[in-house]
């Protein structure tokens, strides 16, 4: 018996059994307790509530929403709100992070100091405090009557008003997709035609693809334009309120800014690390070939740094996507807040949280999958680390 316990394989098997057994026991106990408690409170479990109307409103939605809509529709609204806030936040955070990260790797002392100060401040303050801070600032902006104005943009305590094309929402969505295609298509074409056509021809194809996609966007906007209106709708004061343009509510603006600033400080460090990982050898070789510092940056440092950054960046993006759940702190109806409200109104706690977890898993696993694909596609070929 003792000698059997000293056998490595037997030991490992026993540990596995113990591990799986204890997890199964915990899950089982949880289910039993939950069932008993639910029965005591007279709550029926199940997903029938999804088809009942909610009876309450959401304050932000990209889809049409009324209090008569069923819960499943609200969940969809929540997921789309989260994805929208997440995308805007991630893009802004990436821009901020790239600028600050480059400042941190710059040879300019002042830029480095500013970059470092930025990272030190915003990385070390909890996100929720930063959310409250930006919300306080935005809600203390002037009223619509005395709004700050610049180039047709209006800054008020009711949100940021921006000029917006006079088109239907479907046309606008289609045009947005076309613009995204204009960005993604050249990159994708650059990869697939890489071996077939060296540099020059590839550029032409990429340029043509981008131009075609942008032309599509312009045509869609022209067709979808509402009859007899100017191309851009400028916000303007009418009575006590602002009419026209697009209103970005303070809650959304707060979260987008907070995620951009907070996420930017982390991404800055990733960007810095990526550039540090580029070998000085490659940079020296590029310089010795007569390439200008700018060309060395765009042709050698940036492409190599990007490859070093991408896996960590994907991780950060997943993290920031989860940070959208801060919506509940300021009352932005993201997925998490919709679930919280659902729990309050319907009492279907377990089901709603199950849907919440499944939703976030789906979002973040897809995000990770996309990044893994990109990562594999641009990974350096070959198996030696030399070079």
């Amino acid at each position: 018996m003792v000698s059997l316990l000293r056998n490595q394989k037997v030991r490992n098997a026993l540990l596995q059994v113990l591990y799986v057994g204890s997890i199964a026991a915990m899950v089982l106990a949880g289910i039993v307790i939950a069932r008993r408690n639910l029965a005591d409170q007279g709550i029926t479990s199940g997903f029938d509530f999804l088809f009942k109307s909610t009876g309450w409103d959401v304050n932000f939605s990209l889809l049409p929403a009324t209090a008569n809509d069923p819960y499943w529709w609200y969940f969809l609204i929540g997921i789309i709100n989260t994805l929208f806030l997440g995308s805007v936040g991630l893009i802004l955070a990436t821009i901020v992070g790239t600028i600050v990260g480059l400042a941190r790797t710059s040879s300019n002392d002042l830029a480095r100091l500013l970059g470092r100060t930025y990272v030190d401040i915003f990385r070390n303050i909890p996100l929720i405090l930063q959310v409250f801070f930006w919300y306080a600032i935005i809600t203390h902006l002037p009223t619509p009557r005395s709004a700050h104005e610049a180039w047709g943009f209006l800054l008020t305590s009711r949100g940021l008003y921006i000029p917006f094309p006079n088109v239907g929402s479907a046309a606008f969505a289609a045009a947005t997709l076309a613009v995204i295609a204009a960005i993604v298509l050249p990159a994708w074409l650059g990869r697939t035609s890489r071996l077939a056509q060296p540099i020059g021809q590839r550029r032409t194809i990429q340029f043509a693809a981008a131009a075609a996609a942008l032309a599509c966007a312009a045509i869609i906007l022209a067709i979808g334009r509402m009859p007899d209106t100017p191309l851009l709708d400028f916000p303007a004061l009418q009575g006590l309120n602002l009419r026209g343009g697009l209103r970005i509510p303070p809650e959304f603006a707060t979260l987008a800014i907070a995620i951009a600033i907070y996420g930017g400080s982390y991404i800055a460090e990733i960007v810095r690390g990526g550039f540090k990982a580029v070998g000085t050898g490659q940079v020296e070789a590029a310089l010795s070939l007569g390439l200008s510092p700018w060309r060395v940056f765009t042709l050698v440092r940036l492409p190599l740094a990007l490859r070093a950054m991408l896996p960590i960046l994907a991780n950060q993006y997943v993290w920031l996507m989860k940070a959208t759940t801060m919506g509940i702190a300021v009352g932005f109806t993201d997925f998490f807040m919709i679930v919280a409200l659902t729990i309050n109104h319907s009492g279907q706690t377990l089901e709603a949280i199950g849907i919440l977890m499944a939703g976030f898993l789906a979002i973040n696993l897809s995000l990770a999958a996309v990044f893994n694909r990109i990562n594999k596609a641009i990974a350096l070929k070959g198996n030696q680390l030399r070079g």
């Binding site: 071996l195 050898g281 490659q282 020296e284 590029a286 010795s288 007569g290 490859r307 350096l380 070959g382």
Partner: protein, 252 residues
């Protein structure tokens, strides 16, 4: 402008070159003049300033004192001069330093296309010509890390040659190679030498030095200690440090 004819003017003239790293005096008033078509082999113990010296020639290191003139253009803070000199001076590094995200062909085409504004077809033709010359035309579409060390170094030589430089610098081109790959790189360098390229090579390959060098330079402690013809250098050096170094390098 850099003149391309080979009238008496030297390819390279270094006068009283000083280089400091902080307080460390890496180069102590070096003087060296290299004629067009001349092949110089620089050797010396580690830390003697060999690499520092040739890296000053294309401004990968900034010198702190003295004067460097390459093909009649002075190397100073003038960015235009630096660009002009880098266009005409090719360099091969110990660790190859190929661009790992570009194919072999792209590695060779990128600089002629961007710096020399060559059309793609011409750049590709030149690249294939030089890949042929370093005997790896069949690897053009591969990525650097799919090649052996010797092949990578030959690509690096081809990449430098594609700019059609007038001077080639070699900074220990065979030191990072497995022994069986050294000769394939040296063969390419010998061919290049026989075609009249001006070459400055930092290397410890003494067999190569004996075959191609017009002049041997021995450096120690940031100074040029001895300058001699290979014959004289290997057989009858009067310098104590040179003899000691040679006995260590050739000892086995």
């Amino acid at each position: 402008m850099i003149s391309t004819n080979s009238t008496g003017e030297p390819a390279l003239r270094i006068e009283n070159l000083d280089k400091y790293y902080g307080t460390f005096h890496a180069l102590r008033g070096i003087n060296l003049s290299v004629k067009r078509g001349e092949k110089i082999v620089v050797c010396g113990p580690s830390g003697s300033g060999k690499s520092t010296m040739i890296r000053c020639i294309n401004r990968l290191e900034q010198h702190n004192g003295g004067r460097i003139e390459v093909l009649g253009t002075e190397l100073n803070d003038d960015v235009g001069n630096i660009d002009e000199i880098r266009r005409e001076v090719g360099m091969v590094f110990q660790h190859f330093n190929l661009f790992p995200h570009m194919t072999v062909l792209e590695n060779c085409m990128i600089s002629p296309m961007i710096v020399r504004k060559q059309p793609r077809a011409q750049a590709e033709a030149t690249a294939r010509l030089y890949l042929e010359k370093v005997r790896i035309p069949e690897q053009a579409m591969k990525y650097p890390s799919q090649l052996s060390g010797g092949q990578q170094q030959r690509v690096a030589i081809a990449r430098a040659l594609c700019m059609q430089p007038q001077i080639m610098l070699f900074d220990e081109p065979t030191s990072a190679l497995d022994p069986e790959m050294v000769s394939e790189v040296l063969d390419v360098m010998v061919t290049l030498a026989s075609e009249g390229m001006t070459m400055i090579c930092v290397t410890h390959e003494m067999g190569f030095a004996r075959r191609v060098a017009d002049r041997m330079i021995f450096m120690d402690g940031g100074d040029i200690v001895e300058e001699a013809s290979p014959d004289e250098f290997f057989t009858s050096s009067r310098n104590e440090r040179t003899r000691q170094f040679l006995s260590q390098v050739l000892g086995h």
